[in-house]
């Protein structure tokens, strides 16, 4: 298994940044560092769960394949929650 201390492979990093941007735009994820794949912040995990609940995905809090697939779908720019 890949050590979490090692450099994050670029595709993981891209996915991570995509997810952060998505959650910030649509789920009001607070600005600021949110940890990284393997060591996500509590906020990040909570927002992933909120998005998975909204889209009726399995609520794992992990950035799994189904969740990432959905984040890459073309969509409306209006947030899914809150103001």
């Amino acid at each position: 298994p890949r050590s979490s201390a090692g450099p994050v492979p670029s595709e993981d990093l891209d996915d991570w940044l995509l997810a952060e941007k998505y959650l910030r735009h649509f789920y009001d994820l607070p600005v600021g560092l949110q940890g990284r794949r393997g060591e996500p912040s509590g906020h990040f995990t909570a927002k992933i769960k909120e998005m998975q609940r909204f889209f009726k995905l399995k609520v794992t809090g992990n950035l799994d394949e189904n969740t990432l697939d959905l984040m890459k779908e073309p969509r409306c720019g209006v947030p899914d929650v809150g103001e």
């Binding site: 735009h25 649509f26 909204f54 889209f55 009726k56 995905l57 399995k58 799994d64 394949e65 189904n66 697939d69 959905l70 779908e73 073309p74 969509r75 409306c76 720019g77 209006v78 899914d80 809150g82 103001e83």
Partner: protein, 367 residues
Amino acid sequence: YNHFPRDLKWQTNDVTFRIVNYTPDLEKSDVDRAIRRALNVWSDVTPLTFKKLHKGIADIMISFGSREHGDHNPFDGPDGLLAHAYPPGEGIGGDTHFDEDEHWSKDSSTYNLFIVAAHELGHALGMSHSTEPSALMYPVYSYSTGYPLSEDDVEGIQALYGPNPNSRKVKPKPDAPDKCDPMLTFDAATELRGETLVFKDRFYWRLHPQIPEPEQVLIKSTWPSIPNKVDAAYENPEKDLVIIFSGIKMWALNGYNLVDGYPKYIHRLGLPKSIRKIDAAVHIGDTGKTLLFTDEEYWSYDEATGTMDRGYPRSIEKDFPGMNDEVDAAVYHYGFLYFFHEHVQYEYSYNSRKVMRILRTNSILNC
């Protein structure tokens, strides 16, 4: 459905709109028509009326722009964010913006302007996003024909404005099928490169061996040119093709891409013209034969020679003892045929020629 916080809505039923600029992707008249049709979708089911202004400030200002376009809420280039709109209110309230970096169309070829506009204008009237995949207010884009509002959308907008006092009853589109409905029946099922696809109404579930939870997807959001109703489907792994049957036509998929030259008529396989629909199809890798089920009979198609085997059709009941006499869908896994008929699934051993287990149809969907 959801509304915006504080149930924001227009305080009058007579709302004004203005199309401030136009996309070069479409004729101006096509844009006018798409926007008018999109507004009609909502006025059909409420007392709302929409008056078009050609200058000055309207409640709903409609425009096309890319990247940062004046509201500090930038678009992101092609795909991704397609458009956005603001809830009812003064100033920017109700305004609706489309991303000019998308290609806008009036069919399924790229992003259909009418469908996106109907969604965005839902926001401009006070609707937020729905969690119902079949709802127009679902956040993810999907192409579909026919009346765009689902029951969920109609209930949501009427909770804000009430029904249209003199409307002919519109028939909302049906909601998404519930995978754990004990009475669930399948339209079709097939393998696709190690995944299993199960078709029902306008949707399919995508089952991945390592992911317990199936993903429900609109057929049109993956294959806009395939009909909303699939009768049968099978995979020929040797050719890396999936064949989809609907009515008397068939389409070929290579992965998630449509193969050129399709659709073709099913009679090209050697079926008589009297056959108007295939109920189920399954490829038996061990024999190279594809079985096609029609009513109480089935045919055997030899993939290598591209011809129908002689001596067919034969009776399903006679050749598959213990099975029902009709089949809705079928898949083949490691020597077992899985037949689905109504809400029952039969696990049939191809070698010992008998039914080994009888399960509920949706046990395959982790229910």
